[in-house]
Subunit: 452 residues, 2 copies
């Protein structure tokens, strides 16, 4: 797609933004137009040629207001970018225009017991570094924790490490307040609190530019890391479910990888017995003894364990979980792709077992246990041996036919990736704050269909 | 029942314990032989005349060893007592002998992040006072929190305030280690860790004298208190379930009381609209905004709210929850008694609704939501308008017939109150550490039947 923005409009816009840091170099702009959608062969085809016209780097809400106003003036699309660690093209501009790079807005404005106020470009690891000084940490994070920004995570993520205790970002209480800049002729700052935060959360920057967030914090336990090896996959999965259900054992991550996934983990595989199915876990040090009893009950073998102090240096298991599992597999075999699956509420894991048996090595089972509405369930981020787009679709269709719900990671349309329903409050809020449809155009189906 | 101990044995025992604090005054010994079994008209009949012969107050493990040895020497029964706040006669001696009062062993030996080591006579509130200095508190407590001892809670309790997050005492991780003194000819100190702690936990002091405990701690959030009023009971119950399932909202207590129970709450009732069904809750201050949204969703009215600082003075809602609900009702009408019920895993609360409709005012519904094996469920501590023992039994039988499992609070037999099965590891451990059956005799059915 060619940019929809004329050079003359662009020149006027650049002039209007004098004093801000603007990148026009084509190579740099191209690089900053991309994210990690490359996991998906379908998205590779769809997004490889998409780029913005310029990148504007902002460091304050006042600067965001200036850029918003200029973009509205000149009818230039604006796509917000954090660290660009998303996997669905959330921050890839479909219609050119301005890439608004907010990674320079990285202040932690304040930390109170259980709450922090941060700017959207603050990296998750950097927030933790500051909040841990007073004994707190963020409740949940993606595996891109070191690089990813909080704004990007709230705008385009759903949960992650920590979700085994606190559920998902969309659960009430996991996001307390937001400030957003609107794309009105005279851009405004709107503060959203309570349920109103969901007008903007997980809307991929289509309906407001986040400039500040209040997020809840969790107690910063000393998290020990362990790998537990099992002889058969279903025992490892049942162990994961049981650990999730163990209310007295504090944990932050319960990741299950079927053989042969561990063979892709270069830095870990020497610790893992060949042919094993493994659980990668983060458990509070004060829960290690009861954890060991649970391992014993399931006949597992702890083949790797580090206390928190040691785990904080070098390799962390966090970087082998969630979407990083696929990253490591793809670094060995770039033809691999993946699925995202919510298994049904099925305590005996029968649907999981059926799918594991059904696909064998074609769909390598990777589970993350999380809380969903008060119960522990596995989410699948299965690594798939890709052949064709049709076969991939067939696999996803079959999953849905057995009630394993697919969160399709092979689409750049907001509503097609998640719950597959139009979020009417996203749409209504967009009508109010972005009446010209300039924010991240082409991503929100509800908006596109409204205008057609 | 007359004491089984002869005066001459008793005299020799007293002589052997020279230097320890011994109470022989009949009135005082009688008082220290009782607990709060008076909630049950059946237990009143069964236990009113039960008393020990003497009380020995100990302040150290070394003193416990001396008493144990002397009791074994003279074949004198020994019943351990903490604060005597139990409700099932756990510490009422059935065969006379020594009441071992451990309330003088009240040290908090050390506090680490997430773990404390305490003596059994330490009061729960006193432990919290010390651990909160470093940001921690005990994970769960009964409503007798101010008076109850940790040894008594571990020996005779099952869960309480905090169980909505951490499950019950019997869940792995909620008790880390125990030291117990045995009743062998040469009493030993045995340390139990991991799953071995369940050899002694919840055995009512029948198979070892607890002298030290390692307990896990929870982060000490600033707990706000609120009462939410509802027009109909089932909405209040569904609100409780939804709050329990809200993984992003941190809570410590979710107690639901059907009308007319709130009318028994003298100090609170002026705050509660007449005819209301109420939720009494403890919610972390950092979760108050999302909590308010949940209240709104269910059409509730927050009729009472205190921030943590204010709640720490004067009345606390904790003292209207769990067994204290019954206490307040009985302080108005001493003919009332109660049930203890685990409702089935029934997310729509149909069994609850049926029982609420079925009994009306005869069984006034009081629920505490807790985690059971990873899921949130209500436990009932219904307040019953007592008529006869037969009718009470009929009510309990009917509950069980609809899969509402009764933890019978009208028995002083260990196995009949709880899971109604013999705990073989309790029995095996008793055979080893109390071969003469001197510890709290008459309570463990498995032991009685083994000897008959």
């Amino acid at each position: 797609m060619v940019s929809a923005v004329s050079q003359s409009d662009l020149n006027r816009l650049i002039a209007e933004l004098a004093g801000l840091e603007i990148i026009t170099d084509v190579a740099q702009v191209s690089k900053l137009s991309q994210d990690y959608y490359t996991y998906s062969p379908l998205l590779q085809d769809a997004l490889a040629d998409k780029r913005g016209d310029i990148v504007v780097k902002v460091t304050s809400e006042a600067e965001v207001l200036r850029v918003a106003k200029a973009c509205v003036n000149h009818r230039v699309p604006l796509t917000v970018r954090g660290a660009g660690t998303g996997n669905y093209g959330q921050c890839v501009p479909l219609a050119g225009g301005v890439i608004l790079d907010v990674s320079g807005m990285q202040q932690v404005k304040w930390v109170k017991p259980g709450i922090a106020c941060v700017e959207p470009g603050a990296k998750l690891a950097a927030i933790d570094k500051q909040t841990r000084e007073s004994g707190w940490e963020i409740r949940m994070a993606p595996s891109t924790y070191r690089k990813a920004t909080i704004g990007g995570f709230i705008g385009g993520g759903s949960g992650g490490i920590g979700s085994i205790t606190y559920g998902q970002l969309r659960d009430r209480g996991n996001l307390l307040a937001l400030r957003v800049v609107t794309m009105e002729a005279e851009p405004q700052v709107v503060e959203l609190r309570g349920d109103d935060v969901y007008k903007v959360a997980h809307a991929w920057g289509t309906n407001g530019i986040i400039t500040e967030l209040e997020i809840p914090l969790a107690p910063a336990y000393a998290w020990a890391e362990a790998i537990v090896a099992f002889n058969d996959f279903m025992t490892s999965a049942r162990f994961g479910q049981a650990l999730g259900n163990s209310d007295g054992i504090l944990k932050k991550m319960v990741c299950i990888c079927a053989d042969p996934l561990p063979t892709y983990f270069a830095a870990l595989k020497s610790s893992i017995p060949a042919g094993s199915h493994v659980a990668l876990v983060l458990v509070a040090e004060c829960s290690l003894e009861p954890f060991a009893e649970l391992v014993k009950e399931f006949g597992g073998e702890v083949c790797y364990q580090k206390l928190a102090q040691e785990a904080s240096k070098g390799i962390t298991l966090v970087e082998y979980s969630w979407n990083h599992t696929t990253l490591h597999a793809r670094s060995v075999d770039p033809t691999l792709t993946y699925l995202q699956t919510l298994f049904p509420d099925d305590p005996e894991l029968k649907v999981l077992e059926h799918l594991y048996d059904h696909y064998g090595d074609e769909v390598m089972m990777h589970l993350e246990f999380i809380r969903v509405g008060g119960s522990v369930r596995p989410v699948g981020l299965q690594v798939v041996r890709y052949t064709t787009g049709d076969r991939l679709q067939e696999i996803m269709d079959y999953h849905e036919s057995v009630n394993a719900y697919i969160f399709n990671p092979h689409t750049y349309i907001l509503e097609e990736g998640g719950r597959k329903t139009v979020d009417i409050q996203h749409l209504r809020f967009k009508e109010r704050v972005d009446p010209l449809g300039l924010l991240n155009p082409g991503k929100m189906k509800a908006w596109l269909e409204r205008r057609s």
